[in-house]
Symmetry: C2
Subunit: 358 residues, 2 copies
């Protein structure tokens, strides 16, 4: 049995997590993903009360759930994600002490030493019951995370991911095997890796597993879950968009429009390109762009769209999102289709033996 199935005994294979997307990852979404045999995540905010309320809500949904309780442990079978540059360790420690989530997922430190401090404090606060996952976007960051914090899991985010990520990075196709080769070359406990970025369905999960990952994380796909906490206008755009390699783009414009200050310099965000990006290219100043963005923000769901200005985070796989459906259904479909994709691959290689005699 894999390490992940031991640590997270309610999960089913292939191992699947929903990303801790700020705002979008509601208690209902996290709980649904875990109930269906994945592991759902909340995005931890710096607001202690809001986080406590979210965790209580998840606990209440899951209290009656036989599947996630089957392990008889006292952990809350979901995870919490923190963007370290803007988060408070004291808030995380309180939340972990009170609710004992299965995982805390650390991302985007302003100083890499935060990884060390956070993982040490959170392990102590949970008596080692809460596992530490660290998300990285390069091989070098993976090495530093392992050296500093010995995480239980590395989440490897490739360039196809929607939302925040590295300005410059590889996709999962090369990032995953290169990190795995590094991990294999070390002397130390084995660390499972999860692939994130562009994984939209069972085929993507199967491809991650073929690369050597122990499982996968999906973000954009869960933005189109019934339980996602995003505007209907945003969800509608996800269903409409195709060809994400050209319809999305990486930029710091989303942060500038939202006047979010503090992301480490090497991060930007992938979103559907729209009028805001177009006007920026044509020379519009940030001040003017922000003013126009705020006008549209007030207009609600109609302000989304290619000719709109709303920040519409999405990964390059957005063209594979065709339907809004309950998160549990997404998890079940991914589980089934990943098996099918893997079986098909195995069969296609049974086609002939290579290098047999003529």
């Amino acid at each position: 049995m894999s390490l992940l199935r031991i640590h997270y005994p309610w999960t089913k294979a292939p191992f699947l997590a929903s990303a801790p997307m700020l705002g979008a990852a509601t208690p209902a979404l996290a709980a649904s993903v875990s109930k269906a045999g994945g592991i759902g995540f909340l995005a931890g905010s710096a607001n202690s009360d809001a986080l406590d309320k979210d965790l209580q809500q998840v606990a209440s949904i899951l209290a009656q759930d036989r599947t996630t309780k089957a392990n008889g442990s006292d952990i809350l079978p979901i995870g919490l994600g923190f963007q370290l540059w803007g988060a408070k360790l004291s808030v995380a420690v309180s939340a972990v002490k009170k609710h004992l989530p299965a995982v805390v997922w650390l991302f985007a430190p302003s100083d890499e030493r935060q990884l060390q401090e956070w993982s040490r404090e959170l392990r102590t606060a949970s008596q080692e019951k809460t596992k530490i996952w660290i998300q990285v976007g390069t091989v070098q960051d993976a090495k530093r995370a392992v050296e500093l914090a010995a995480p239980d899991v590395l989440v490897l985010q490739g360039s196809d991911a929607g939302g925040h990520g590295h300005k410059r990075s590889a996709s999962t196709v090369t990032l995953v095997p290169e990190v795995i080769d590094y991990l294999a070359s070390r002397h130390g406990a084995s660390i499972p890796v999860l692939a994130a970025g562009g994984i939209m369905d069972g085929r993507g999960v199967a491809s991650a597993i073929a690369l050597g990952a122990a499982g996968a994380v999906m973000g954009t796909r869960f933005l189109a879950a019934t339980e996602a906490g995003i505007a209907k206008g945003w969800q509608k755009e996800l269903l409409k968009a195709t060809d994400g390699g050209v319809s999305t783009g990486r930029s710091t414009l989303p942060d500038r429009l939202k006047q979010t200050v503090g992301w480490p310099e090497h991060f930007d965000g992938r979103a559907l390109l729209n009028k805001g990006h177009e006007d920026e290219q044509a020379g519009l100043s940030d001040a003017e762009n922000v003013a126009l963005y705020k006008q549209e923000l007030a207009q609600g769901d109609d302000s989304w769209g290619a000719h709109g200005r709303m920040v519409t985070y999405a990964g390059t796989g957005v063209g594979l999102v065709k339907e809004i459906k309950p998160a549990a259904e997404i998890v079940r479909e991914v589980h089934m289709s990943a098996r099918k994709a893997t079986q098909n691959a195995a069969e296609s290689l049974r086609d002939s033996e290579p290098h047999s005699k003529l």
Copy 2:
């Protein structure tokens, strides 16, 4: 049996091609790949005599080869790639008539109607014996290629690829399944797709097949083949480089340094970043950068390196290239390791049945 094994009967599963890399893809490299059960490619130039010489050399190497001749056909069991914006159809037609290569691979038209004209003329010239492959980098281009030219194979190049490709595109993880879904939605003959970009070993090939591809193309990996026609300095850099998401970058600088004019506007090239890129960022003019590049060019193998100025094309998977070895050995290793990766994936999913009763 798959369509590819019928059309290219000397090939073994998984289906693997070496990319038609201008200069690098020598007759010896192409012949070695085909002899080992892949399909090797030459890069077709606009120079008729040079191309004819290369094809004669391949024919002479393969004349005595039992494996590739086993099909008893009169085709030359390799392919020819053309960058259409700079190629001459008359040169391609002559080469096809005289040598009957198994494939002509069309890439980068300056006008998409070239795809229609070239495929029609080449099918006629070869009496339908030479298959037409078209390389694209977006879903939209895939649709247009199918509508205009009904190719026998679509090569889907993701953003991780080294050398020339789209300035903006997705990686294989989303490009491959989205194009496959489009192809499945059509009424018409099935068209196999091959994944290209970031595929360095059997794990990458297995991931492509899990996504639904019929096989894969490798470029950067074959730059480090014994037979590759590139400078030793370049090969040395490929072995040294790691973390390709940050050590390589997309730019039009390589074309500007080499004073290559004519690439369609939406193309650039991925290469290892070095002093030329750094100086450009710092404000150096193209004229000065070109002059410094030419000085270094004269110095030979020592001019390569992170502090050098040579154009060192490489994909993001460059950190997975650890050794220079004969192309046949690369093909055999990929065949074996792709099987292993696929078997491992199938076994990891056998770990538990999802959604069984508790």
